[in-house]
Symmetry: C2
Subunit: 158 residues, 2 copies
Amino acid sequence: MNKPNPDTSNDPASKDRLRLWLRMLKASRSIEAQLRENLRVEFASTLPRFDLMAALCRYEDGLKMSQLSGVLKVSNGNITGIVDRLAEDGMIVRVPVPGDRRATLVRMTTRGREEFKIQADAHEEWINEMLIAFSGEDACEMTHRLEQLDASLQEKST
Amino acid sequence: MNKPNPDTSNDPASKDRLRLWLRMLKASRSIEAQLRENLRVEFASTLPRFDLMAALCRYEDGLKMSQLSGVLKVSNGNITGIVDRLAEDGMIVRVPVPGDRRATLVRMTTRGREEFKIQADAHEEWINEMLIAFSGEDACEMTHRLEQLDASLQEKST
DNA sequence: AAAATATACTTCACACATAAAACATTTAAG
DNA sequence: CTTAAATGTTTTATGTGTGAAGTATATTTT
């Protein structure tokens, strides 16, 4: 009775790691929820739209649908819908790729770039306020640890 | 030209905090995606279902819909759908609340409790493997920092 | 060059997620 | 006691998110 599961009882750190994950999940959900709310209220937009524009802004020449899907790590079908709506709003355009009629290039419009600049500045300021509990140094150290985690996660999936 | 936004240029730590957030988001999305995949493949289930059962298991007497909504911090309407599907699968039951015909109490079934126990053990082991890059001590320290963040976030929203 | 494969994207069926409106019931006010 | 306000839940409209199937076009094999 009350015997812990053998798999996890082997590793006394298991509970500590679980606690860490639950904390991490709570913190990131909480921040994400606030960002979504801010984007909705201030810019009538959403996080996926913001993320997609952020990705596109890093590539002056635009990205193909499948590249967007890879960069944002969401499914192909999902990208279709987000691009549809952003295109309707005139933030981005679909451009045919010469020499390959299957593919579509997606590029920011001038209006999209202007609008994104405003949103990105606000976004940085929101984050700055929410993470005010971390000094610059604290933040760098946490980032470093999370980079190690990321490296370790990539290893496993390879 | 090239003048940084005045709001954020005031605080030199702003960029460090933004980097931290992007890392945190990447890490938690990556872990969440793996958990979702595991739940789907191993148990034909989802993270929202798992979360709801986890919440319910902490309350032997069950929870009302609105309490579930509060504990899980998702909208009322959302809870309705997840409860519908879990009830269809016999994991939980809706029980009328005597004296208040508006409310419904939701409780785990015996089968639900058995099934959740299996899933929760697997879940802990998945997390243990994914966070293997952190020693028990590292994990505790990170948890501590995230708790500080959480406290700071709660403050602002109050 | 015809047939098999691979690639790029969209569509589909489903499960979440939200805010807002609708509905039912209870409680409070006058 | 009857209306008004508050509470508890569901419904609706919309926007993600997924995996799998479908369509169109390119590429490779034979």
